[in-house]
Symmetry: C2
DNA sequence: GTGATTGCAAAGCGTTTGCACCGTA
DNA sequence: TACGGTGCAAACGCTTTGCAATCAC
């Protein structure tokens, strides 16, 4: 019944580069810059944010390369799109298995958690609606411990 | 513990018009056309879809009026944006209270259901993460009974 | 009659495409 | 060396804005 939470972490970086290489893509500076920026971020970033952050280290990076790298990372399921009331263009490091998102409404910090046995609910909804349920999304919004303390 | 499901229905139409009027907006033909189109739809529609459908009855409707009407209906919480892997531009009749969406991946038909006591999960996640949870989204994707039969 | 609302055209913005040059393997 | 990847500029599609004409109240 444990509800583990986990944050995105920089250790992803090398895995992602390996995965890109294993998939037949070349390891270039623009790709490294995008990967590093996303792997270091605790919150979801959109293309422009990645572009601005990554250019601090790699000024010649083009916005187009950010889009093209995001496309590949998403296809490889290394990152995933985050849906949010303010927009759905941001990406965050993805985890394997069934994970749900917890997002801070103040600083944007995101964590994953394992939402254990929602299966009972699936079955009830399936029975009452007649739908065959294939997939589900569960997302929580709130204030992380740091932002809660800062408010006081 | 019941998990009621309910579909959008045309009865919304008059309520929406009343609500628009009560909020100080004028009841115009373009607004009626948009309201009628959305209230009659079982699935979420984006601006262009509403535009095309509504013009069958009201050909002089402009796309801009669709956007402006959607903006007002959303502010009044009569409709809500539907987040979907294919995009987040579509709107559906909103319900009051805490409701969750169930969407058919084949025909797009949407229903609401009441996801009873997720509170236990909230508390566990809140405790383990340190987050103060304010809001949650729960969405199911699957195949409705009609699309399941059609497949066979 | 008056001012909110309309449709059109143009602007705006994020994203994708075309292309010649560059750099990884 | 070969060809995948790059950055720039232009194109694209969706949404918003400016404006004169229109219509609900």
């Amino acid at each position: 019944m444990a509800t583990k939470t986990s944050s995105p972490c920089p250790e992803n970086k090398q895995d992602w580069l390996d995965c890109l290489k294993a998939s037949g893509y070349r390891l270039t500076s623009p790709r490294r810059a995008v990967v590093e920026t996303l792997a270091n971020s605790q919150r979801a970033l959109n293309a422009t944010e990645i572009y601005d952050l990554a250019r601090e280290q790699y000024p010649s990076l083009g916005l187009v390369s950010v889009y093209r790298t995001l496309e590949k990372l998403e296809q490889l399921e290394l990152i995933q799109r985050v849906h949010h009331p303010d927009g759905c263009q941001a990406f965050i490091a993805g985890f394997t298995g069934h994970q749900h998102l917890l997002i801070c409404q103040s600083c944007g910090k995101a964590e994953f958690f394992e939402g254990d046995n929602l299966e009972m609910l699936f079955e009830r909804v399936a029975q009452e609606s007649g739908y065959q349920i294939q997939e589900h999304w569960l997302q929580f919004f709130g204030f992380c411990s740091k932002c809660r303390t800062d408010k006081d």
